[in-house]
């Protein structure tokens, strides 16, 4: 289905950038130098959990300032079912497969967080992608897994998906592997390596993967309940895996200051053994690294909880997403409840220095409307251009959690916003000209979640 007229010049896939045999770029620096500015963004759009009788969709957003449909949702690929809660998604191939001849970065793997259904979308025509395959939930449940989350391609053309629950939505979670034809290959790791699961990132050159913890699906699906925190039902550990053996070598308990460790980001350099994980509830960022004999994680950023008029307890920032720029110089993260996006200089990875921040929406952001549009949520999923000059974000976290903390978002829908970044000076400025309004879609207001670029992301590309 298309919401806009098809443009005359339909951009299709081009030759592999960088002249390499496979998809992606030979190095992170090549990605910065050889990439062209993003023209479309793929964004998850959601109706799950509302009374709008429509399925979730992959939104194609025009982000080309020279285009007539700039800042519009120009196409929507509707999923075949309702109730999926599309959340995070990933490519069939990234720069980790740069050496694999014949492989293309072309298919998006789009799981339903609630349904456990997995969709494959072909983006050969970038402005009009097409759903080509659906893996039904029963096929996933067969491997005693549910609640798919992070999708990474792995260097041989296969796809790995972190799974947060067992077939009943209880613990333990694990990992599901798909082959290059998107057939379910089975469970990637020996069952029982971990209890809780969430996000993960791997550095093949160091034979290492780091995974984080949210909770059992049955715990977080209905909404956030402090009783569950007190009962110890939320995660606070990260796991360091042997990538080849697929086994956990070390588990690091982040303690009370590391409650609900979500997004995991290694630096992009394949040489690096430094990375970050954001602890959402404690509102901290931890730096982890290989200390030689073992891996260590230290809290390097602490977001102070703030008093809110009329609220009973100090409100945490809720660090829900973070990313590292392609040149490994800056760390960005969002405080979804407070309403700010922060930029830190990480030239010294263990000593991040606050460079700049933007307030937009949230419960403390003195939320000035953008182009007269009231912001009904706080900054959430982030994506940065490969050259590090344009930072974009959406405002929805998870449908049931949105309803608790930003109930008006269900009626108004999400927005996608953008800041112009000056990497040389370490500054950001909100671009008031840029507003994508997911409240204005034909079926009704939609939520918007993760963002991806056709030519590689600061949150998905890995180098071997």
């Amino acid at each position: 289905m298309s919401d806009a007229r098809k443009p005359n010049e339909t951009s299709t896939d081009e030759a592999q950038p960088g002249g390499s045999e496979g998809p992606g770029y030979t190095t992170p620096q090549a990605a910065i130098e050889e990439s062209t500015p993003e023209k479309v963004a793929y964004v998850m759009g959601l109706y799950v959990g509302t009374d709008v009788d429509a399925p979730d969709f992959l939104g194609v957003v025009d982000v080309d300032p020279d285009s007539e449909s700039y800042t519009e949702v120009i196409d929507r690929v509707e999923m075949p079912n309702r109730g999926d809660e599309l959340h995070h998604f990933g490519w069939n191939a990234c720069s980790s497969s740069c050496h694999v001849e014949g492989l293309e970065r072309r298919h998006l793997v789009i799981p339903g967080q609630r349904s456990s259904r997995i969709h494959i979308v072909d983006t050969k025509d970038r402005r009009n992608p097409e759903l080509t395959k659906v893996i039904e939930p029963e096929e996933v449940f067969e491997h005693d897994l549910s609640a798919p989350h992070t999708v990474h391609c792995i260097p041989d053309g296969n796809v790995l998906i972190s799974m947060l629950g067992d077939r009943d939505g209880d613990l333990p979670g694990g990992f599901l592997a798909l082959d290059e034809d998107f057939e379910v290959e089975g469970r990637w790791e020996p069952p029982g390596e971990i209890e809780m699961n969430y996000d993960y990132w791997y550095q093949p050159r160091h034979d290492v993967m780091v995974s984080s913890e949210w909770a059992a699906p049955k715990t977080y699906y209905p909404g956030f309940d402090l009783d569950d925190v007190e009962a110890g039902d939320y995660g606070r550990r990260i796991h360091v895996w042997n990538w080849e053996d697929r086994t956990v070598e070390q588990t690091i308990d982040l303690g009370e200051e590391g409650l609900i460790p979500l997004e995991v980001r290694f630096l992009h350099s394949p040489e690096a053994t430094h990375g970050y994980v954001g602890a959402a509830l404690s509102s901290n960022v931890f730096h982890f690294h290989d200390a030689g004999d073992e891996w260590r994680a230290e809290r390097v950023i602490d977001v102070e909880a703030r008093e809110h008029d009329g609220w009973e307890m100090p409100v945490p920032g809720l660090v829900t997403d973070l990313l590292v720029s392609m040149d490994d110089r800056y760390l960005f993260f969002s405080n979804w409840l407070h309403g700010d996006v922060r930029m830190y200089d990480i030239s010294d990875p263990s000593n991040p220095r606050l460079a700049d921040r933007i307030w937009a929406g949230g419960h403390f952001g003195d939320p000035a409307p953008v182009q007269d549009r009231e912001l009904a949520g706080g900054p959430q999923m982030l994506q940065l251009s490969l050259d590090g000059e344009r930072l974009y974000w959406t405002t929805s976290l998870f449908s049931s959690w949105d309803d608790q903390f930003y109930p008006e978002e269900a009626e108004r829908g999400s927005v996608m916003l953008k800041a112009d970044v000056d990497p040389r000076r370490g500054t950001m400025q909100l671009d008031e000209e840029f507003l994508v309004d997911f409240g204005e879609l034909p079926a009704g207001p939609a939520r918007a979640h993760e963002i991806r670029w056709p030519d590689g992301d600061c949150t998905s590309d890995v180098w071997r």
Binding site: G49, S146, A147, D168, P222, G223, D403
Partner: protein, 109 residues
């Protein structure tokens, strides 16, 4: 259970809309609503996610699997998961997305 019987089930939305559907003894309320072409919210369909939460104000419902997403306090208050809920009598059930939002509130507020 008593196969073959059909229970008259009133679905009631907060905006005031009401619809009556017949739910067979061997099908879930969600399944019967879909058969009647009525859109109710749902997610996991396994009793884990609470997206399909309804609240029984009259009648008798049995869950065919453990309702994992509901806590004891929710069950005591009449909340049910319509994806795994089968009526055992005629029922009146509050439905729609705002029933689920009653399960949890903003803990800081």
């Amino acid at each position: 259970m008593s196969g073959g019987s059909v229970h008259e089930t009133v679905l009631s939305w907060s905006a005031g809309r009401e619809t009556v559907i017949g739910v067979r003894a061997d099908e879930s309320v969600l399944g019967a609503a879909e058969r009647a072409d009525l859109a109710l919210p749902f997610g996991c369909r396994t009793g884990a996610c609470a997206t399909c939460t309804g609240r029984v104000v009259d009648g008798w419902i049995e869950h065919t699997r453990p309702p994992r997403a509901l806590k004891d306090r929710h069950l005591a208050a009449g909340y049910v998961l319509l994806c795994i809920a089968e009526p055992r009598s005629d029922c009146r059930i509050e439905v729609g997305s705002d029933v689920r939002t009653e399960l949890v509130s903003n803990p800081w507020k």
